[in-house]
Point group: C2
Chain length 428, copies 2
């Protein structure tokens, strides 16, 4: 078997066997199949796609390219959530302790952000001392004592995915449903979980620009997960406007604390509660979503979710003083006219945050945890000319001046607002 | 400009600018753009193609990735021929001295074979002492004294093509019309020629399996050459049966000598004469093909073409004793029945020769110049059961036994034969 035969077979639109996919992933992980052959293969997959069977085989091989956590080592029902990413999406920080408070074990292995705003790990690192590089032993200890742990991908977890993702990033092969599916699922399923809830976002601020694209990805994800014997469900959610009222690492952690203290913005709370409810219901902890939601809201109100979060942060070396770095320059963004906020362009908010330094343009950029945007007005809210639409946080005058008009453009003021459902579909 | 932007642009079916193609080829040649990005790009080109403008730009950049021979350094009208390759195709060895005898200068830079039988250089190396590694100075000297020279590609000639071809070979991106076109034309146009005749073959024994594919390639080749201000013409020729009566390196040189001595098989002679005639007519040496053919036949009959060949071989260090290595085992292939040869499958003849060692399976294989097949019966010729259909030459009993049935299968005996034109179309 030669790698080029497999490339040619895929190029010509034929279905690859498990054996061929095994040969390819194993060779690529070990280095016997060079990057250039994998890059050509990825581009062939971009054009010709993969059957559900092939996608499942690719996921399986990438998952087993490294260590897979033995579920028997963890107590209870193990569940996790994955989001395809969006501006202001900080649900993981709330959901993990919340689900743990409701009785699940949440072994969440997360990533960093590239482009736009930081990822879950970047946000957590805004908490002084918080460690995202737990050893496997520390990860298990945290899970046992707190019921949840959010840490980074070790070199042992799905190394084929790590290598392939870096390659896809520079070869124009990121936007391929089967490759995205295998990437997400290989990492998540290596966590040894029973249940996986997928938050597949669509819109200006998401990777998938249309509901149709999001649905296609959601179906592929659910199909592979189900094929692997897991409880999987995907929710298709709106990402045309930022989630919550803030974007930027420390600012987002603060907003999560607001929710865990019983407050916080409605949309963020609603989505987090629903994702957690689906996780509990799909795991069989509660017979229906209503019962699950009831329990979840109780855990938010009585502070047990907050306690779980504090326990996790403490276990991972973080301070629960919540003394975040503060930005030196804080400026309100004035409304240009009287009216109703009719839209907040998530993509522009993200790009503005990137300019401020809240995200990375290149993988080795450092993040400024203090900067970003907060107190954003939400679509449907009335403003008067000169009222603050948001407050911008920067540590650099030039960056503030560069991002300011971008944020300005993101807010549209009109006379009316057409609300759209946050969760439009459920696939499982 | 980032390489992945160019890959993405091509992937999405957009036309690249000259500047983008320049950036890509330059970076790839210098090594700043890695193989994996070029492999992904090549696969995107496989699927999305290239416009004539893009193909011309790619050819130009690949041609100028190394040295380009200054036409002013050579006397007279410079012309060359390129064949897309086939079994028993030895026309170059006759055409180069023949065209030189008719007054053209033929600076022919040729290649080696990979798969099936040897390339032009491999055939010439069957002549003891013949050097295919001339320096530029030696190449010019041979051209000045003999009017023709056949040598190998130096490291300075179109290095981008050398690098890209090796990459395409292992990434499933060989069969792409724009990439084939740029590969052929960048090398040929770097020779500093005025006229180029292309022999685009179709059929079982050719890379292009159908006339339509051959026509598409021929059109792309002519388009690029014309765009670059050259006299270009393509002939579409039949490669369902081998050309001539022999395949294998020394055996083919012998057949070329037969033609140069006024004999040899009809099909080989007819094709060589016609390719040379088109070259002379397209170069303006003769006003029409008839006049050109007349002159060509005269040069074959009066021995001036042979003298040119001998002069070239001598100038390049070869012996004109024509004392070729002889194969130890020579066995006739008996006809299985009375009848008329209705077909000789060129692909099977080629594969049989490969087994004997007349070609390379891998680039570092060594070639046995003595082995192959000769005295092949041609379609339309009558045979009686037991008559030799051909003679097989081998230096290894096992290889003889392995190839024998392959050659046997190549010959079909029937009751009638439908002749097909050797040259079916002319594009210029």
């Amino acid at each position: 078997m030669l790698p080029q035969w497999i490339i040619e077979k895929k190029r010509d639109g034929n279905e690859l066997s498990n054996k061929e996919i095994h040969f390819l992933v194993k060779g690529f992980t070990e280095g016997s199949i060079p990057d250039y052959q994998m890059a050509a293969f990825a581009m062939a997959v971009y054009f010709k796609g993969m059957t559900p069977h092939e996608t499942a085989a690719l996921t399986f091989e990438m998952m087993h390219s490294g260590e897979v956590i033995d579920p028997a080592r963890l107590p209870g029902i193990k569940a996790d959530k994955h989001s395809t990413g969006g501006i202001g999406d900080k649900t993981s920080l709330i959901l993990a302790p919340l689900a743990a408070a409701c009785g699940l074990t949440v072994p969440m292995i997360s990533g960093r952000g590239l482009g736009i705003t930081g990822g879950t790990l970047d946000k957590l690192e805004a908490i002084p001392g918080y460690r995202t590089d737990l050893s496997e032993k520390e990860f298990f200890q945290t899970l046992e004592t707190c019921g949840c742990s959010i840490t980074g991908q070790t070199a042992q977890l799905a190394p084929a995915d790590k290598k392939l993702y870096a390659l896809r990033d520079v070869t124009g092969t990121v936007p391929s449903i089967p490759l995205i599916t295998a990437s997400i699922m290989s990492k998540k399923l290596a966590e040894g979980i029973d249940t996986l809830i997928l938050d597949v976002k669509w819109g200006q601020g998401a990777f998938m620009k249309t509901v149709e694209q999001a649905r296609e990805l959601a179906q592929a994800l659910v199909e592979v997960g189900t094929h692997m014997g897991k409880n999987v469900r995907a929710l298709i959610t709106d990402m045309n406007q930022p989630l919550g009222r803030s974007a930027g690492n420390a600012l987002e952690v603060q907003e999560c604390l607001d929710i865990l203290n019983g407050g916080g913005p409605d949309d963020l709370k609603a989505l987090t509660v629903d994702l957690t409810a689906h996780m509990l219901e799909r795991s069989g902890v509660f017979p229906d979503l209503g019962k699950a939601r009831e329990n979840i809201l109780q855990c938010l109100e009585n502070g047990t979710a907050l306690k779980k979060f504090e326990a996790m942060v403490t276990a991972q070396g973080g301070s629960t003083e919540w003394d975040f770095a503060e930005a030196e320059i804080q400026e309100p963004l004035p409304a240009p006219a009287d009216g109703v906020v009719s839209a907040v362009n998530a993509e522009l908010i993200g790009k503005g945050c990137l300019v401020l330094g809240a995200g990375r343009q290149k993988t080795d950029d450092t993040i400024d945890h203090a900067v970003g945007i907060a107190q954003m007005k939400k679509p449907g809210e009335a403003v008067r000319k000169g009222d603050p639409l948001a407050v911008i946080f920067s540590n650099d005058r030039k960056k503030m001046d560069e991002s300011f008009p971008m944020f300005g453009k993101a807010f549209r003021i009109g006379s009316s607002f057409e609300p759209r459902p946050l969760i439009s579909e459920q696939i499982s």
